[in-house]
């Protein structure tokens, strides 16, 4: 029998049914929450960033990533996939992960579902942003850290 779910690739289905990295990180380095109940999709992506010395340079490496998603199957699968993709990546590498790349890693998404992968990219960017902001406020020992964080959320 032809597999009429071919519209969703096997990988999408797999990541939907067995999503990787669901949940929260204890003391996350950065948190990104995007979407809203009005548009029907909400993603929260948390990352752990650790500084490591690689080839004599100090690099910011994403050592862990977790997500929670309220959204359709494609939204869940892209969330799962992007958390897999960022793990072990340097911050500046992770920022280059496009929604197209996530979709490709899932062996493609139906055209109508491409906006879901955009949401995953947004969530990742927001989490990294959050991390960078925290970092800068921590290094500056900036007093109005909390203020800033709220406006960025």
């Amino acid at each position: 029998m032809v597999d009429y779910w071919s519209l969703y690739s096997k990988k999408v289905i797999d990541h939907f049914q067995y999503p990787r990295n669901v949940g929260e990180i204890k003391n996350p380095s950065g948190v990104g929450r995007v979407g809203s109940p009005v548009c029907g999709d909400i993603m929260e992506l948390q990352i752990k960033v650790e500084k490591k010395r690689i080839k004599g340079k100090t690099e910011k490496i994403i050592t862990d990533a977790k997500f929670r998603t309220f959204g359709c199957g494609a939204a869940i699968a892209t969330s799962s996939m992007i958390t897999e993709m960022v793990k072990g990546k340097k911050i500046n590498e992770a920022l280059k992960i496009s929604n197209k790349a996530v979709a490709e890693a899932l062996d493609g998404l139906p055209a109508i579902k491409m906006h879901c992968s955009a949401l995953a990219e947004d969530a990742l960017k927001a989490a990294i942003d959050d991390y960078l902001r925290r970092e800068s406020s921590r290094t500056k020992k900036n007093a109005n850290y909390h203020e800033q964080r709220r406006t960025n959320e």
Binding site: M1, D3, W5, Y8, K10, I13, F16, Q17, P19, V22, G23, R33, P37, V38, C39, G40, D41, I42, M43, E44, F67, R68, T69, F70, G71, C72, G73, A75, I76, I112, M114, H115
Partner: protein
């Protein structure tokens, strides 16, 4: 992917399978009796006779006369013909239409079109069960009102409107005014599922659709009470009493006739069965899954329709998960444009966006069995739990 063992179809409000006897009735007209009913020779006259019999069967199901039935291509076309046809033919009498906020797009979008073409439309609100207050109809009628269009049963949650009451109010209003206010109902979801009689409901026009009642796709009908002033939507040949041009879809017409005939015979039995099955499904879900709510009216509802919100579970994800188990259901929202839109019906009941996005529609039908329902009750709880476990909203995990 592992193979699907079961296939359980619980989406009968979207479309129904052809009843095997309907297909059997259609086959001769797909094979041997292919004539054009307008033709004067045998090939033509033979199918004309059968077409007239089919018309009689449709009429009989809803308590109408044969010549009050016009065949169309769908419920959508029936609604378009009813609304635009009445407006066109009664322009001189008025331009005001009363409808509800929970109609199917095939009424709402026609109203939108008409409001861009000189009509004024009043959209009546509904209460939290989806019911229209019939007193609101009385208040909304003005001198310029020409049409009230209120659906019989809602496709998303199944709530049945008090058409008799509304019909009585319109009749009363008509007794005091020179020009009649016509009363149309979109009965696409109610015909075959519950009793539908145009005289009891006091409607002047009624839309129905073949594929919602185990008949074919591509065929619908509009009941038009004798004496109603209405214009045609499609111009061309003199088909369908000059109200709908185009060579008749004979196999479709024959199929619709047969489906109506079967419905006439078996409706009461089927209604009981569906009520029992959907009650079983609802109780099973309620017992096994916390934080759910039933949308729509608890009693004044189609026998097979269950619309349930599963807190913090996005509907389309749940639909996909069930589909992967071979179970077909539906969500109120439609994702046609790239970003999903919540159901206008559920929002009209007062649900929040979040609640609307968590709703799922089970619509049961003739071929569903107790075993199928048991199976759904058995696997649904763990699926809901799994998706809740992923969700970004709802109770802290």
């Amino acid at each position: 992917m592992r193979p699907i063992l079961k296939r359980i179809y619980l989406d009968h409000n979207a479309t129904t399978p052809l009843h095997p006897l309907v297909l059997k009735a259609m086959l001769p007209y797909l094979e041997r009796d292919f004539g054009n009913p307008s033709s004067l020779h045998r090939f033509g006259r033979k199918v004309r006779a059968s077409m007239d019999e089919a018309r009689e069967k449709v009429a009989s199901l809803i308590g109408a006369k044969s010549e009050e039935i016009i065949f169309t291509s769908s419920g959508t076309e029936s609604n378009n013909l009813a609304l635009k046809g009445i407006v066109e033919a009664n322009r001189k009498r008025g331009n005001h239409i009363i409808t509800s906020s929970i109609e199917h797009p095939a009424v709402l979008n026609v109203c939108k079109y008409l409001s861009q073409h000189g009509c004024r439309v009043t959209y009546l609100p509904v209460d939290r069960y989806g019911l229209i207050n019939s007193e609101d109809v009385r208040k909304a009628i003005t001198k310029k009102t020409i049409l009230v269009s209120i659906m019989h049963a809602n496709n998303e949650m199944g709530t049945i409107q008090p058409l008799r009451e509304i019909g009585r109010i319109i009749k009363e209003a008509n007794s005091k005014r020179p020009n009649r206010v016509y009363f149309h109902t979109d009965a696409v979801q109610s015909v075959e599922k519950i009793k539908v009689n145009v005289n009891k409901l006091k409607v002047d026009l009624l839309s129905l659709s073949g594929h919602k009642l185990y008949g074919p796709k591509g065929i619908g009908a509009l009941y038009i009470r004798k004496g109603v002033r209405i214009s045609s939507l499609l111009q061309g040949g003199e088909h369908e009493y000059n109200l709908r041009a185009g060579t008749e879809n004979i196999p479709g017409i024959i199929g619709l006739g047969k489906a109506c005939k079967i419905a006439s015979r078996e409706r009461i039995k089927e209604e009981k069965k569906l009520l029992k099955l959907s009650e079983r499904l609802y109780q099973g879900i309620r017992e096994k899954i916390p934080d759910i709510r039933l949308n729509g009216h608890p009693k004044k509802r189609l026998p097979g329709t269950l619309n349930i919100s599963f807190e913090s579970v996005e509907g389309e994800a749940l639909l996909l998960a069930l589909d992967l188990e071979g179970i077909a259901v539906s969500i109120g929202s439609a994702c046609t444009s790239g970003s999903p839109e919540p159901s206008h019906v559920l929002l009209a009941l007062g649900l929040s966006y979040e609640e609307a996005y968590t709703s799922l529609r089970f619509s049961l039908g003739r071929e569903n069995t107790k075993e199928e329902i048991n199976y759904v009750i058995q696997i649904l709880p763990s699926i809901v739990k799994r998706i809740r476990g992923i969700s970004a909203i709802g109770r802290k995990k």
